[in-house]
């Protein structure tokens, strides 16, 4: 009985989170209306105009950049550790990778601010600017979407990698052998037998990584430049949902601003919860054994 009550504490915590978020963020959202809040691109505290679009945009762009960078590296790393490297390398390397996951995000932010941003300012961004792509234009100030995306990529790398490794371990050895016995090279066996089988699980891992990127606060706040604008260039400073909450919540000038910030939190909460539910269901289905991923 006592145990059941304690167990249910998790459900109570979940209920409290939802209730409190709705209480502080709900009225403001209801007043403006979800759609006009989301599509409004102006955030001006002095005029009490609160639009969510710059933050949604910044969150999506930085997370997108992070996924683009982290996914190939994570999957490559997971493949290297499960399919290619000798077992000794595997056990040596797994420790630093787990270290990467344990470093507090404010320390990543510190590193991003004083190492990555100067590096981007010169030479990386001027070099990228030579491609003349519209996403690589403007002043190379270092602080901006690109910096945030790179830091995020580093931070979600261990998340995706560790789940991808777990997923790859569920691939039956007999499939690998089937491909090899047909005269496949190791890579061809991975491509024809291993990756198709692991695909669903890797998608789940990616979604969990994305969930982490969307909600990551400190490191992004420190390198994104904190400007509530929408720009096409990755060099430009921007803002994200968690970053604006981190910066403005404590010093919010009134109930209006607090409400708007909490509404942003509510949006972020809804998106990450949905993403996590979907991802967990996927990863779970894969873990449950030879998942009928065929369909």
């Amino acid at each position: 009985m006592v145990l059941t009550v304690l167990g249910a504490a998790v459900l109570v915590v979940a209920a409290v989170i939802v209730a409190e978020l709705l209480r502080v963020g709900g009225p403001s959202l209801a007043q403006t209306g979800l759609w006009s809040f989301v599509k409004n691109s102006v955030w001006d505290v002095t005029r009490d105009v609160y639009g969510a679009l710059p933050f949604i945009y910044g969150t999506l762009v930085t997370s997108g950049v992070a996924l683009l960078l982290a996914l190939p590296v994570s999957v490559g790393l997971a493949l290297f550790l499960t399919e290619m490297a000798p077992p000794r390398v595997r056990s040596i390397v797994s420790f630093p990778i787990s270290l990467l996951a344990g470093i507090p995000s404010v320390v990543y932010g510190l590193w991003g601010l004083f190492v990555l941003v100067p590096l981007l300012r010169r030479p990386v961004e001027p070099l990228l600017a030579r491609t003349h792509l519209p996403i690589f234009t403007g002043a190379p100030i270092g602080l901006g979407y690109l910096a945030a995306g790179i830091v995020l990529a580093i931070m979600i790398l261990p998340t995706i990698t560790s789940i991808a490794i777990e997923v790859l371990r569920t691939v039956p050895g007999s499939l690998r052998e089937a491909a090899l016995a047909l005269g496949a090279t190791r890579w061809e066996a991975i491509r024809t037998a291993v990756l198709p089988y692991a695909r669903t699980g890797i998608i789940g891992a990616t979604m969990l990584g994305l969930g982490r990127a969307l909600g990551e606060t400190m490191a992004v706040t420190m390198v994104i430049g904190n400007s509530p604008t929408i720009r096409a260039s990755l060099f430009a400073p921007g803002y994200t949902l968690p970053a604006v909450i981190a910066n403005e919540f404590a010093e919010a000038s009134g109930a209006q601003q607090t409400g708007a910030l909490a509404a942003l939190g509510l949006l972020l909460f809804a998106v990450t919860v949905l993403l996590n539910i979907a991802a967990r269901l996927l990863v779970r289905a894969v873990r449950r054994g030879p998942a009928r991923v065929a369909a």
């Binding site: 499939l175 089937a178 016995a181 047909l182 005269g183």
Partner: protein, 251 residues
């Protein structure tokens, strides 16, 4: 008999410290069927896996001695295991079709891997007919391989191996998961395939060994106890251990 296809000289194999094969030497003439028999754990699978260099893929596995196919040492520098495995196909104990692929794609998987072009439709039909599966699946080639029964899956795996037209086919207890009808079909298939390939088949079933093979090798605790024409092994073995085994006194 005709020319030698496979020649094994003083083959030893280990898993870390387990000595799984001890000084095995034998030859397999071209276009014949060799049956490997012996109690569980005696090294039958290890032996066939040495013939297409699958053994070396197991972490901690080692081997010594020589295996020659067409007179060429498998471990010679010029031999690429990838190319070798295309020529020496393998069917495993448990059916292992690619679960994410259709029946059709499973059959052509080896062709695609090896970059062999041609009329895939024709090749699929030919291989599936050879594996006695065509009539059962011809109307649902695009269905998932997992929609087949265990026995059908095993025949699909055989078709997959045959599609790349190997010279040697290694079969590790291919019928252990099959019902008598499917087993009979596979035995018939082995009989027909002899015309074009050389076959090494591992089996626990004495009658099956007697029915399909030209020669039989009896393994015990990693040693090759006796090897000779199948009829002799079953009717007039030289070794008492062989006699005990084939008459069912142990194992």
């Amino acid at each position: 008999m005709n020319e030698t296809k496979i020649e094994v000289q003083k083959l030893n194999a280990w898993f870390k410290t387990t000595h799984a094969l001890k000084d095995v030497s034998l030859t397999v003439p071209k276009n014949t069927v060799l049956a490997i028999i012996g109690p569980s754990g005696c090294g039958k699978s290890t032996f066939v896996r040495c013939l297409n260099r699958m053994h070396e893929l197991v972490p901690g596995a080692r081997q010594s001695g020589k295996v020659l196919v067409d007179g060429q040492d498998l471990h010679a520098r010029r031999v690429d295991p990838v190319d070798l495995r295309r020529r020496v196909g393998m069917v495993f104990q448990r059916p292992n079709p690619f679960p994410t692929m259709s029946i059709f794609d499973n059959v052509v998987a080896g062709l695609r891997l090896n970059g062999i072009r041609g009329n895939y439709d024709e090749q699929v039909e030919k291989s599936l007919r050879q594996a006695a599966l065509w009539d059962e699946v011809k109307d649902r080639l695009q269905h998932s391989a997992l929609s087949l029964s265990g026995g059908q899956q095993q025949r699909l795996c055989i078709a997959r191996s045959l599609a790349i037209e190997p010279e040697v086919l290694l079969m590790d207890e291919p019928a252990s998961a099959l019902d008598p009808i499917a087993t009979a079909k596979i035995e018939e298939l082995i009989h027909d395939l002899r015309a074009t390939l050389t076959i090494v088949i591992v089996t626990h079933n004495m009658q099956q060994a007697a029915r399909v093979s030209d020669a039989t090798a009896f393994f015990y605790l990693g040693e090759l106890v006796e090897h000779g024409p199948t009829e002799e092994i079953f009717t007039n073995p030289r070794e008492p251990r062989t006699e005990d085994y084939v008459t069912g006194k142990f194992g």
